[in-house]
């Protein structure tokens, strides 16, 4: 993975496969604490204690089509090499929280990358689920909630070309306004 935005897409896809109807994505950048934090919270089926302990093992997966599961181990590795860490909280039937912290100014921290493309990929590919994206910087907060968008659009699907074009502009503008890092 070359960007943190790709990790976010990957972890949020896990949430979808776990049957989540709502996925909350938080990105927090704090210059004063030199901290970059991402947290993905879902209401999917969650994990048992044993599953949670094995989730960071690259040779553990619940998939049947292959024998490795690299998403979480790669994110843990990316966080740890910047002095950060990965925290995993989960309870069966309740949901899962994946939180990764990074050293904001650490030279090995990957760039955040193209958040707009990540969100559009999630929204277009999973019309049955809702996403809340919250991005906090020292300059302010950007919030995107697909439940509000769906309400405004009524029967027009979220993946309509007019809507994806709008979303791309809305995200780029909102992140620019709060001075989000690239």
């Amino acid at each position: 993975m070359l960007e943190l935005a790709l990790h976010i897409l990957d972890i949020a896809e896990n949430s979808i496969r776990a049957g989540a109807s709502l996925v909350r994505i938080l990105v927090r950048e704090s210059r004063s604490k030199d901290l970059f934090l991402m947290r993905i919270t879902d209401n999917g089926r969650g994990m048992t204690r044993e599953e949670r302990e094995r989730a960071l093992d690259p040779f553990y997966t619940t998939k049947k089509v292959r024998r490795v599961g690299l998403g979480l181990p790669m994110l843990a590795e990316a966080a740890e090499r910047t002095g950060g860490r990965l925290r995993l909280r989960s309870r069966p039937q309740t949901g899962t929280i994946v939180e990764a912290s990074f050293g904001l100014s650490h030279i090995d921290r990957q760039p955040l990358g193209d958040i707009a493309s990540t969100l559009i990929a999630l929204i277009v590919g999973n019309p049955g689920s809702d996403f809340i994206y919250r991005h906090e910087t020292d300059g302010g907060v950007y919030l995107l909630d697909t439940r509000n968008i769906k309400r405004a659009l009524e029967d027009v699907p979220l993946n309509h070309p007019e809507v994806t074009g709008f979303l791309r502009g809305h995200i780029a503008e909102g992140l620019g306004d709060i001075g989000a890092s690239a």
């Binding site: 897409l9 027009v156 309509h160 007019e162």
Partner: protein, 127 residues
Amino acid sequence: MSKLKIEDLKKIKEKVHSQTALREGGQRAKVTVHMGTCGIASGAREVLNALMRVIEETNTTDVIVTTSGCMGLCSREPLVTVELLGKEPIKYEKMDEMKMRQVFKRHVLEGEIQTPFVLAKGSEVVR
């Protein structure tokens, strides 16, 4: 200060309503971009992004775009499945943005399978 407001979606809604009133009918095709860890790491998001952009450019509204997980052929990612209405699904391997644009314009819109990029015909069976 944000210039694009969620309320602007109401205008989009009205515009879409006035357009779709003229055009009844079903979907022409379904395009699936495989979005597992392997797909994402090898560029599936950029492929999907290119697909959405070409759909926006051509103002196509009768194609369903969806994503799926890994199907076990990680070395052939990014994988894209194109299923025209009533036809067998075609799986394209090692896709990129330019190949995606070509497949959309030639296969999805004109029905001409882009053989050089094809991995297989038919659906995968997950056991």
